[in-house]
């Protein structure tokens, strides 16, 4: 990897830590989302901000309300790519591209970005941006 061991970016095993944390978060997130998205509150905090298709929602409660009120019963996500980067303030930037299928609608592509922060030894999501893919299948 072209990553300089600047002390800020420790490695564990063969995968850098931000990738480990990022990918396990992603897996957890989409599992929760697909099975019971009302449980997603646990990964957000009161200072979190969700930007869903351009609309902003602040705070855990508002976010969970928005996600729970989305107009579909069944949802399935499939990740086609994910990418993780460490930020200067020791947070993790995760970018996800994938496809989703809601109820009986056609498959659509989506892009999502998460910003993860370590608060009291737990990684929570402080920012979340979601967009449907307009220009590609995802």
């Amino acid at each position: 990897m072209g990553v300089h061991e600047a002390g800020q970016r420790p490695r564990m095993g063969d995968k850098p830590i931000w990738e480990q944390i990022g990918s396990s978060f992603i897996q957890h997130y989409y599992q929760l989302f697909d099975n019971d998205r009302t449980q997603l509150g646990a990964i957000y905090i009161d200072a979190s901000c969700l930007t869903w298709e351009g609309q902003q929602f602040q705070g855990k409660a508002a976010i969970v309300e928005k996600l729970s009120s989305l107009p579909f019963q069944k949802i399935q996500h499939s990740i086609t790519s994910q990418d993780h980067q460490p930020t200067p303030d020791s947070c993790i930037l995760s970018m996800v591209v994938g496809q989703l299928k809601a109820d009986e609608d056609p498959i659509m592509g989506f892009h999502q970005m998460f910003l993860l922060k370590n608060i009291n030894d737990a990684w929570v999501c402080t920012n979340d941006m979601f967009r449907l893919a307009l220009h590609n299948f995802g």
Partner: protein, 657 residues
């Protein structure tokens, strides 16, 4: 002539001297009310008693009370042949004096603050429209005394819960606009999250009651408003007497410097002249501040500089009234007071200050360093030139420009217009270099420790599409990540590496009109935005290929008011053929092709907004606006019409909201 404190002392001694009645310690109250017994009837004259009780009602945290209370001694039960029974108990910090009206006997009872129901006690004043018993007609003298500040007259207190959210001007203007009667608010102030003010007569109060459901703020929340009877506001109740005001005026004139148009009220309480006349100018008290401001209004309306240093000020509600009275004030000295939070400045933020002194206030400790302190103050007074004697340098403005913008606006949680423009400007510049110029110029845009990574998503069914393979030329790591998803990923660190890598990527032409930008503020110093859009690959020997990309930038403000990239992630994939067909092709910069006008930044923003509001995809919104000559309102109307008629195809809309 006497300060309230002195009054009580006088009263106390008088009580035991006072004549009339029988048993030890009992005083004929009647004599106090009706005769000029001993000392003047200073008690009622200055409404000391009432003011004490009403101040508890006010709940405005006025701590002057405790000074007075300490002087009180226990009183025995006082009974008179009249109906007045009053019992004034030993003063004790935990006891609240209230007057209970019982069976025609007006007894003052001491209630322990912690007693249940204590807080629920509403003072009889509110029920009986005045502190005077209705069982006894007030004497002629009393009516004269109270005159204009008719304590018996109807004062009403208007409460706006959550009023703290709104500025005084907005709130009062909104209320006035919905109120059928013109009103003059008295003693406007904030207590915790509420806003309060008083009005004088019942017609006004009634009219205000009707405003309750009529006001909506900018987020469309209802602004509630409650009206209840109350005693006169403290500034009215304790209004200074004309003689006192005269003394005040003289004292202030001595402190006014005509050439500088400045008024020095430093340590005003200890002014020799005022003290010798027994006038306590405690500026925290609404009545004192109000009198001072009236003198200023009448005598020094051209005031430029005001010094309120060392006056133990802990709130600025009273000072806020100065704005219409002395509109030219540019210099304000509030140093060495007791201001605990910048929220106090909120009350005077309409002052157009150029110079401000705040040092020596507890609020200073809320800041970790001088520059956060300064930028917080600048938030309130953007035209400030000098803070605590130090110049607010304009070159800093440039820096604070970018970092100021990053602070989430108080008014809306969302992203301000300035911020959006900043980001759009950044993207324009970035992509103009990326597309046409030498990409090494991008070095300036990146932070030394910047990170960049490129990802190419691909379906498990197909391998990395050949056409995209050129992106992975320099790829070192082909990872099998989890299941069957194959992805190509590279992470570049340090700006040198990043830019070197960017330079080998194929030449591009980004379609700015296709950009969908989402912005979120991470911290005061960090901004994150994502861009979804399209670009064309325009390598010389290859046919033009349309790609779709998602790019996420994390930026921080840099020293030359620019944005500096610390994280950059790029995902490239093939553009969806459907979109290509319905594409309104507007190349950003295409020297070889037929020049087609690009849409401007404002137009882009308009399309974006239209798209969000209508639910239509970007291209469709663009078409709609174009067809309506970029008249947003007309476009909106036409859209609504067509939608109602079912004439807009389903594919125009974004499916998941």
């Amino acid at each position: 002539m006497y300060s309230t404190a002195k009054n009580f002392r006088t009263y106390r001694t008088e009580e035991y001297k006072g004549g009339g009645n029988t048993s030890r310690g009992r005083v004929n109250y009647k004599s106090y009310f009706h005769e000029n017994c001993g000392e003047e009837n200073v008690y009622y004259k200055n409404n000391g008693y009432k003011s004490r009780l009403s101040q508890f009602q006010e709940d405005d945290g006025n701590t002057a009370m405790s000074d007075i209370q300490k002087d009180l001694h226990p009183r025995h039960n006082l009974s008179t042949t009249d109906d007045n029974n009053r019992k004034v108990a030993r003063d004790n910090k935990d006891l609240i004096h209230i007057t209970e009206w019982r069976d025609g006997n007006h007894q003052m009872r001491n209630m322990n603050k912690n007693e249940p129901g204590c807080k629920d006690r509403t003072f009889p004043m509110t029920k009986n429209k005045g502190p005077m018993p209705k069982y006894r007609t007030p004497s002629k003298r009393e009516i004269e005394e109270n005159g204009q500040n008719n304590i018996y007259g109807n004062w009403f207190k208007i409460t706006i819960p959550y009023g703290r959210k709104y500025t005084k001007t907005w709130l009062l203007n909104s209320i006035q606009s919905k109120c059928s009667v013109h009103f003059t608010p008295v003693d406007f102030h904030y207590v915790r999250s509420q806003a309060h003010f008083f009005v004088k007569n019942s017609t006004t109060a009634f009219a205000l009651k009707n405003v309750n459901y009529k006001i909506h703020d900018e987020n469309n929340h209802q602004v509630r408003l409650f009206v209840k009877e109350s005693a006169a506001p403290s500034s009215e109740q304790n209004k200074l007497k004309p003689e006192e005001i005269e003394q005040l005026k003289l004292a202030m004139k001595k402190r006014f410097d005509v050439s500088q148009k400045s008024l020095n009220l430093q340590s005003f309480r200890f002014d020799q002249d005022l003290m010798s006349h027994d006038i306590d100018m405690i500026l925290n008290r609404r009545n004192c501040m109000s009198a001072t401001l009236t003198v200023i209004e009448e005598n020094f309306p051209e005031l430029l500089s005001l010094n309120l240093c060392s006056n133990k000020l802990y709130q600025l509600d009273g000072l806020a009234d100065i704005i219409p009275k002395a509109p030219q004030i540019k210099i304000l000295n509030l140093s060495n007071n007791e201001l605990k939070s910048l929220r106090q400045l909120d009350k005077i933020r309409e002052m157009k200050l150029e110079e401000l002194w705040l040092q020596g206030n507890p609020l200073y400790n809320n800041f970790s360093n001088y520059s956060t302190y300064m930028s917080a103050i600048l938030d309130y007074f953007p035209k400030l030139l000098c803070l605590d004697g130090k110049d607010v340098t304009h070159s800093m403005d440039v820096e604070t420009g970018a970092s100021e913008i990053l602070k989430p606006s108080k008014k809306n949680h969302g992203v301000s217009e300035m911020l959006k423009n900043l980001v759009l400007q950044f993207l324009e510049q970035y992509y103009s270099i990326y597309d046409c110029g030498d990409r090494s110029r991008l070095l300036d845009a990146y932070h030394d420790e910047a990170c960049f990574s490129l990802t190419i998503p691909c379906n498990p069914k197909e391998l990395v599409p050949l056409s995209l393979y050129k992106y992975s030329k320099s790829n070192r790591n082909m990872k099998n990540c989890k299941d069957h998803v194959l992805l190509t990923q590279l992470l570049k660190h340090t700006k040198r590496d990043v830019v070197d890598f960017l330079r080998v990527l194929p030449k591009t032409q980004h379609d700015l009109s296709s950009f969908m930008v989402d912005i979120c503020i991470l911290t005061e110093k960090m901004l994150c935005f994502s861009v979804n859009g399209r670009f064309k690959e325009v390598e010389a020997t290859c046919p033009v290929i349309l790609r779709a990309f998602t790019r996420i930038f994390i930026v921080i403000p840099a020293s030359n008011s620019r944005l500096c990239i610390v994280n950059d992630t790029l995902t490239v994939s093939n553009a969806c053929p459907k979109e290509i067909q319905s594409d309104v092709s507007i190349p950003a910069r295409a020297p070889s092709s037929i020049p087609v006008p690009t849409i401007s930044q404002e137009q882009q923003a308009m399309v974006q907004a239209f798209s969000t509001q209508s639910g239509m995809k970007f291209n469709w919104s663009l078409k709609c606006l174009e067809q309506n000559d970029w008249n947003y309102a007309v476009a909106g109307q036409n859209f609504t019409l067509l939608k109602a008629e079912g004439k807009i195809p389903k594919e125009a809309f974004q499916q998941i909201s």
